[in-house]
Amino acid sequence: MRIPCPHCGPRTHEEFTYYGDATVRRPSATGPDAEAAFYDYVYTRDNPCGLHRELWFHQGGCHEWLVVERDTRNHDIKGAVPARSVFSADDAT
């Protein structure tokens, strides 16, 4: 499997460290249901058959966290973007 790093180009997956679901967002620590929300954030995950947006760290390269879109059925990778662009955009909206 090769991941198209936006900084380093397509690189082999051994250079990357997998983390997991890139769609969950850290909830507010002060909300009334903070504990339940954090429980959900830390433990509850979907297991999709098909496209999955997930976080990979380019440990053997640029040290960028990437949001990679991968098809869980066949490892086809649709693309990869720097996580900070995705998460900054979240904050903006």
Partner: protein
């Protein structure tokens, strides 16, 4: 060399290669395979079969060979189960037959054949069921001895293996006519091309056939094509290279047999090299594999695939038999008859199973050969075929004497690589073959691999696919003029098995699976092809059923009266042919399995005779023995005492170090650490703990505020990488708005602990005299930039892991060796002692500091006595879930100190706490001992542990038990801080 044809062949008669087989000496020529050289020397019997120990010869001329497996080389270089048909002959080659005892010609276990009812499908499950006690003692050794293949070498492999990468636009797999054609058109567009072929000569069946391309022999056309490819700078040719697997995103695994054709690889060269080819496009031109026909004793030596016979005749100039019978269900078999006659052989008869009208039409072209419309019922002979029994369609039977049977059941496309990513091939009913269907992204198929069996089709599809592959990469070119080629026909009427058979009819030669086994399995309900495979082991040998798979499927379909298409295929997985584990491992063996990291003081410590141990990726000094000290215990105790009474030196560079800078550095650190850092002044250091988001302890270390917006934080050696990664995750996904930068500087700084009552005195000798180390100027937890006596810059931290007055001094990594020597020399009269990991561990247990054994991923801050450090004023990683009721339950196992009641008793890590008078059972388990040591200060064994309600139980006596080793002793629960609980020493 009695079977060598006087002229022709792609062999070099000037270069004689001597070799041995089962100890006897023979010779062949450069360009021979081991199989062709054996045949040239009239050796027909080369092995014994897996279950029945039946005599076996050479069936094929390629990597599909199921029978002719030999042990190659000897001693540490012995390699079992190599295919004689694949092995390139070299001078000095040693080969030994396998699975026979006492000799190949006389094998006592051939008697297994008489007991063959015992060895039918599922025999493993049926025969050796009872009594159970017989399994290990009788059956397993028996099976292992009887049903073995070759023997692996018992010594370590003395050769090297490499791993490498190569990139290209178009990868062409297979260098037969289709592959060469594809490589030519792709390369002529300017695309970067890699052409790989498993054989030691490129050319494929161009070398094996007497066909012409534009009037010249196909082999000459191939030679010209290769010469043209070789002349192009962006083309790389890989002979002796098997592309064994297709992986994600255009990654192809291949093994190049760099030096397998030499007795010993030249110095500094690998035996084999595993390649990963990264290709934008691939053209699969892997050809086809001929199917054996299924008749009685079709496994006798001398029964050979018809196409292989042509390879031996035309490529190797060997006549595999003087008097042949050709048995075929297709037109291609007739070509073999023609080639045999052309080579001076005698064809006693050609037996064609098809309608007489087809047979007589073909027979008109061969007026001198007796053609029979009928079938071969069986072969006869002892260790070699001597005759065949033939029944014609009219019902007449003949016995025909012969010493070669060339059989052809048609050709199966070699489409394995098309299905490595999970795609299944499609059954083409009209041609009775499986053909590729869905393909891996970027792959195209040309020639026989796609079912286009004739030379003309191979060239056309090759040219076309090479061009389209290059076009997909952005290169353009044009189709060359199509060459004129010899006419051929692949017409066939499949004969999956003969109607009347004499003797066992083998389907899978290597695993000794017969038609009876297939029928029995079906009869017993194993009707899925996957079940049939596992029950009969059809296709499960080292050849993975290359010659047997399709026939097995067709026989099952026939038996169940369903179409082959409904039966499906088993799954093809990498590797295509066996790949040595050594090649896959490459250089990652022994100490080279992963890089070893050496601490900056390593050379100095080695000179002092230190004993080293692996600590994660690092090699660290364990202890520094002095003359007369022979074990670990003495030096460790001496080093501990020195730190507590004079001064010790220890390399702590392996701790992770991360330099954090920026206007938001404090905000960032505040969110990472569970405790407060807002009040930390510049020039001060603070101990900090990090949690995971689930509320459990992640790591601990110190953060030193070097400047207003600059912190140097340390991590444990074990978690250095994870913490750094975690910080990036937090910054890039949680708080991208924070203006902060950080980088790991673990390798950039050498850092040494200088610990003990005389540490200040020692440092004063090493540092610039203007540097004030008094308690007032540089108190406990101070940090700052200092200068050495020679003016070089250093950093000083007044932190202590031992509980003594202590410092850590850091210099740029390359100055570490000089500094440790300076420190050691300067402190001789102060009694300075280097100490290693063992003493470091004793010192920290005595002081109650936690390390990996306590930070084990299952403990919380509360468990380890850090509960009060958790800030309630801020949000930090783990703040919410760390407050969960269950995680702050006082009844959780929590950190305590323990000392033995009997001062002579010993402790072991991992012992479990059990109340004094309770039964030693899991119900009474109250936690476990995490760290133990002999304390030379307290002169007894002490330890740390995690005990239910621990901190509330100081003074209580509890049993610690080790049921595995039958040890137990009584301990007293106490504070984890054994030495200087008030901290007077470290502030002194």
């Amino acid at each position: 060399m009695s079977s060598r044809i006087a002229q022709g062949g792609a062999i070099n008669r000037q270069q004689v290669c001597r070799f041995t087989f089962d100890g006897a000496g023979y010779s062949g020529y450069a360009g021979d395979s081991l199989a062709s050289a054996l045949l040239a020397n009239d050796i027909r019997l080369v092995g014994r079969s897996f279950k029945y120990h039946r005599p076996r010869g050479i069936l094929s001329a390629g990597s599909e060979e199921p029978n002719a497996l030999v042990e190659l080389r000897s001693g540490a270089r012995r390699e079992p189960n190599t295919r004689a048909t694949d092995i390139e002959l070299y001078d000095g080659l040693e080969a030994t037959s396998q699975n026979r005892w006492p000799s190949l010609k006389f094998d006592v276990q051939a008697i297994n054949g008489l007991f063959s009812p015992l060895f039918v499908a599922g025999f493993y499950y049926k025969t050796f069921m009872w009594p159970a006690s017989f399994w290990e003692k009788v059956y397993e050794p028996l099976i292992r001895r009887a049903a073995g293949l070759g023997r692996a070498a018992l010594e370590a492999d003395p050769d090297h293996y490499e791993k490498s990468w190569a990139h290209c636009d178009v990868l062409v797999i297979g260098a037969g006519p289709a592959g060469l054609a594809a490589a030519l058109t792709a390369a002529r567009t300017g695309a970067r091309v890699i052409l790989a072929d498993e054989n030691f000569v490129l050319g494929g069946r161009c070398l094996a056939e007497r066909r012409t391309i534009d009037g010249q022999p196909a082999a000459d056309w191939a030679a010209q094509a290769i010469a043209e490819l070789r002349s192009m700078p962006d083309v790389r040719l890989f002979p002796r290279t098997t592309v064994f697997g297709v992986f994600d995103d255009g990654v192809y695994g291949a093994v190049e047999r760099v030096n397998d054709h030499l007795p010993v690889p030249p110095e500094f060269q690998p035996r084999q090299r595993v390649w990963r080819f990264i290709a934008k496009q691939a053209v699969l031109a892997s050809g086809a594999i001929e199917r054996p026909l299924v008749f009685g004793n079709n496994d006798l030596p001398g029964v050979m695939l018809a196409g292989a016979v042509r390879t031996y005749l035309n490529r190797y100039a060997v006549l595999p038999g003087r008097r042949a019978v050709v048995f075929t269900d297709n037109d291609d078999g007739w070509t073999t008859a023609a080639d045999l006659v052309a080579a001076g052989g005698q064809v006693a008869a050609i037996v064609d199973s098809r309608e007489p009208v087809i047979v007589s039409e073909l027979a008109r072209r061969f007026p001198d050969i007796q053609a029979i419309a009928g079938e071969v019922n069986g072969a006869r002979g002892g260790r070699h075929v001597e005759s065949v029994e033939v029944t014609s369609r009219t019902g007449t039977s003949h016995r025909i004497d012969c010493n070669l049977v060339a059989m052809s059941g048609g050709w199966s496309p070699t489409l394995h690589l098309t299905s490595h990513k999970g795609n299944r091939p499609r059954w083409d009913e009209e041609r009775s073959i499986f053909v590729p269907d869905m393909l891996p992204t970027g792959m195209r198929v040309a020639g026989a691999a796609n079912g286009d069996m004739t030379l003309g089709e191979a060239l056309v599809t090759g040219f076309r696919q090479g061009l389209t592959a290059a076009a997909s990469c952005g290169f353009s070119g044009s189709m060359p003029a199509l060459p004129r080629v010899t006419e051929e026909s692949a017409r066939r009427v499949p004969l999956w098995r003969v109607r009347q058979a004499l003797g066992k009819c083998f389907v899978d030669f290597q695993n000794d699976v017969t038609t009876d086994d297939v029928e029995l399995a079906e009869h017993e309900g194993y009707r899925s092809i996957e079940h049939l495979k596992r029950y009969t082991t059809l296709g499960m040998a080292t050849d993975q059923g290359k010659t047997s798979g399709v026939t097995g499927i067709a026989l099952l379909a026939q038996r169940r009266s369903i179409p082959v298409a409904a039966t499906g295929t088993t799954t093809f997985r990498p590797p295509y042919t066996p790949v040595a584990m050594g090649a896959l491992a490459g250089h990652h063996r022994g100490m080279d399995f992963r890089p070893t990291r050496y601490a900056p003081s390593h050379r100095w410590a080695s000179e002092l005779g230190a004993s080293f141990t692996e600590s994660g990726p690092w090699l660290r000094a364990q202890w520094f023995p002095r003359a007369g000290e022979t074990d670990w215990f003495e030096p460790t105790c001496r080093e501990v005492k020195a730190v507590r009474s004079t001064v010790g030196l220890c390399d702590v560079s392996t701790l992770g170090k991360i330099d954090v800078q920026g206007p938001d550095a404090l905000k960032f650190i505040e969110r990472l650490y569970a405790n407060n850092f807002a009040t930390l002044a510049v020039g001060r250091t603070r101990y900090g703990i990090m949690l995971r988001e689930d509320g459990f302890m992640f790591d601990d270390g110190t953060a030193a505020r070097l400047a207003e917006n600059r912190y140097l934080i340390t991590t444990t050696t074990a978690h250095a990488v994870q913490v750094y990664q975690h910080m990036h995750l937090c910054h890039q996904t949680l708080w991208p708005e924070l203006d902060v930068q950080f980088v790991s500087v673990t390798d950039q700084w050498a850092q040494f602990a200088v610990a003990g009552p005389r540490s200040r005195a020692l440092l004063q000798r090493v540092l610039d005299p203007r540097c004030d180390l008094s308690n007032e100027a540089f108190p406990f937890m101070a940090c700052g930039e200092v200068a050495l006596r020679n003016g070089e810059p250093a950093r000083l931290f007044r932190i202590s892991f031992s509980g003594e007055l202590a410092y850590e001094i850091a210099v740029p990594g390359h100055r570490g060796d000089a500094l440790i020597r300076t420190l050691h020399d300067a402190g001789q009269d102060l009694g300075v002692v280097p100490y290693g990991l063992e003493a470091l561990n004793v010192l920290r247990v005595e002081k109650g500091h936690v390390v990996g054994s306590e930070l084990n991923g299952q403990t919380t801050a509360h468990d380890l006595g850090f509960g009060r450090m958790l800030s309630t004023q801020k949000d930090f990683i783990g703040s919410v879930l760390g407050r969960r009721a269950n995680l702050i339950d006082p009844a959780r196992p929590r950190l305590v100190g323990i000392k033995t009641v009997d001062r002579n008793a010993k402790l072991a890590g991992g012992m479990h706490f059990i109340p004094q008078h309770a039964q030693r059972s899991i119900e009474h388990d109250q936690g476990h001992v995490t760290s133990v040591c002999y304390s030379p200060i307290l002169e007894q064994w002490i330890g740390l542990g995690l005990l239910t309600n621990g901190p509330d139980r100081h003074g209580e006596k509890v049993m610690v038990v080790d049921p595995l080793r039958g040890a137990e002793t009584l301990v007293e629960i106490c504070s984890p801080v054994f030495i200087d609980p008030e901290g007077a020493r470290l502030r002194g």
